[in-house]
């Protein structure tokens, strides 16, 4: 006997909990932020609840534009580096024996237990002149004298990629391990070299997974706030740093909210665009 489908409230019960959580922890805070972004800033004080669009008007400065472009650029760069390194890495892990796979995954997951503070400090020490790896290169005779690589652009990129890399692998692992091993085998039987196989068959059949991972790493690193302060110079501070400065140190919550809302809209638009491009190319390539 097939039971009747539950109707009314009973049917909604299973999704009630996530729905309430989403509303309480996301929709309401976001609504407050959106509202505050339209409040009137009171110089030297806080804000009044009068409606004002000045906060958005105040965004159009050279400084904001420069920092916005840089934030998007560094996140996109990290996404590309993480996927470029993470994809072959994950591919080789999935080709290993089960036990070796588990060991690698456990190592990666344990990296996640490190906080951004520890990671940033570790990198700044590793790239420092007094105790960093350049001392090792001097000892090996590769360099004349130890140098300092932190703070700087590449120190920041290294720190951000380090944080995002485990996520990259964990997101890529399921589709890669589900990849039918007969596909590359067939390609090689037909005469393709392992390298050609990797680039044409493996990469090609996982295009959507790669696009999804790129978006994930991009969105994940966009919010980075601590690492640019420790590993970057002021010109490498991301928009998150500026937003925090406005909100916490300048008590300018309306401007901070407007920056955050604008930032979110721009990033969502970029993510949407990437998905659109990924989709429109997908069927044509097949």
């Amino acid at each position: 006997m097939i039971e009747d489908k539950p109707k009314g409230l009973r049917a909604l019960l299973p999704i009630l909990y996530p729905a309430v959580t989403l509303v309480v922890f996301f929709v309401i805070p976001f609504g407050i932020m959106l509202a505050v972004s339209f409040f009137e800033r009171e110089p030297g004080g806080f804000y009044t609840t009068d409606f004002s669009i000045d906060n958005y008007g105040n965004l159009f400065t050279e400084l904001f534009g420069r920092v916005l472009v840089f934030s998007i650029f560094i996140s996109a760069l990290c996404a590309v580096i993480c996927v470029a390194v993470g994809f072959p890495f994950t591919y080789f892990i999935t080709r290993m024996r089960r036990k070796a796979q588990v060991v690698w995954l456990v190592i990666l997951v344990s990296v996640l237990s490190l906080s951004a503070v520890i990671v940033a400090f570790a990198w700044s020490l590793l790239l420092s002149q007094t105790a960093g790896i350049s001392n090792l290169f001097v000892w090996l005779g590769l360099m004349g004298k130890p140098v300092s690589w932190s703070p700087g652009f590449w120190a920041l990129t290294a720190g951000m990629c380090y944080i995002a890399f485990p996520y990259t692998v964990l997101v890529l692992y399921p589709p890669l391990s589900r990849l039918d091993p007969h596909l590359p085998e067939a390609a090689q039987t037909l005469g393709a070299s392992p390298v050609t196989t990797f680039f044409t068959v493996v990469l090609g059949s996982l295009r959507s997974a790669i696009v999804a991972t790129l978006i994930m790493v991009f969105a994940f690193t966009l919010g980075t706030y601590l690492i640019p302060q420790i590993l970057g110079r002021p010109q490498h501070w991301t928009l998150s740093v500026l937003i925090t400065d406005e909100a916490v140190y300048h008590s300018n919550l309306p401007l901070a909210s407007a920056m955050a809302v604008f930032f979110m809209v721009v990033s969502l638009a970029l993510v949407g665009l990437t998905m659109l491009i990924g989709k429109s190319r997908g069927p044509a390539a097949r």
């Binding site: 800033r41 400084l63 400090f121 420092s128 302060q229 300018n252």
Partner: protein, 356 residues
Amino acid sequence: MSTKPRLLWSILIFCAAVAFVVQPGLAAEKTLKVGVYGGYFKDSFDKHIFPDFTKETGIKVESVAEPTGEAWLVQLEQAAKAGVAPADVNMIAQVPMLRGQKTKLWAPLDLAKIPNHKNLLPVFVHKYPDGKVDGIGAVSWYITLVSNTKVFPEAPKSWGDMWNADKKDKLGLLALVSNSFLLEVTATTYFGGTKVLDTKEGIQKVLDKLAAVKPNVKLWYRDEAQFEQALKSGEIPMGQYYHDVATLASKDHPVRSTFPKEGGVLDSGSWAVPKSSKKMEEAYVFINYMCRPDIQKKLSLKVGTSPTVKKELTGLTAEDFAAVSSDIKPIIPRYDIYTGPLSDWINQKWTEMITK
């Protein structure tokens, strides 16, 4: 099966009833919530100040860790709107003190109930524009010119040394205009005092001069630990830092703190009570206690802060005094410009200057 939940409910109700009966008994004890900067300050106060205060007055102190910056002020404002106070007495920096004045957040204090205020240096009695007192100096500290003794065997003499070509990529400076007070430092060093900061044109001139120091700055820091570690190792061998912490570090590391001839920057925190607090009487007892010369001496010796009371009252030896303060006239920050009509403009120009 059905008895189990009922049993659970009975236990819960019983516990609630016990808690309800016992609670008034607990509340009879006098308590006071004191907000102190989290970390070093709170740990030191919990260890050296609060237990003795409770022993003497019978008022139990519950210390609350405050975030630095103005996040705490935002929380106090929101709580005050709801009629509650996260802490009754709060250690508040000078810029948020002024910001809180705009919304009349601080309860006016009656000096007659704080007889020990007579011990204080005048600068440590904070007032509303109409003359009502809203804050009493809690702790004060100096920001000075610090250097690594191995990299720079000779101590610097002036803030102006930071502009010298041999300091290229060697300085660590605080990242925010309102906590580095570098505008005041530059104005005092090159423009004969902080008066130049009265006008937009004056501030712009000072900012331009400050921009010239940028090639020498390796790190604009928000996190103190990061600079301290780099200073000790010599990675970043010079910069501005807190005199108390640097003096503490100089015992085991090649670090020195110098009062430049233009003076160190004297910053401070005030005790302030939000209007929403219902513990005014206990708050007066606490603030009065903190203004006692012997307590200020203890703070100087144990925590390393500069005394808020007159030097001769503390009974500190010349050496102990030098460890926390100096007789050179200090640079007093222009807190007013960070809350005045130019504040947003200053923040914007500052960020543009250092991120370029």
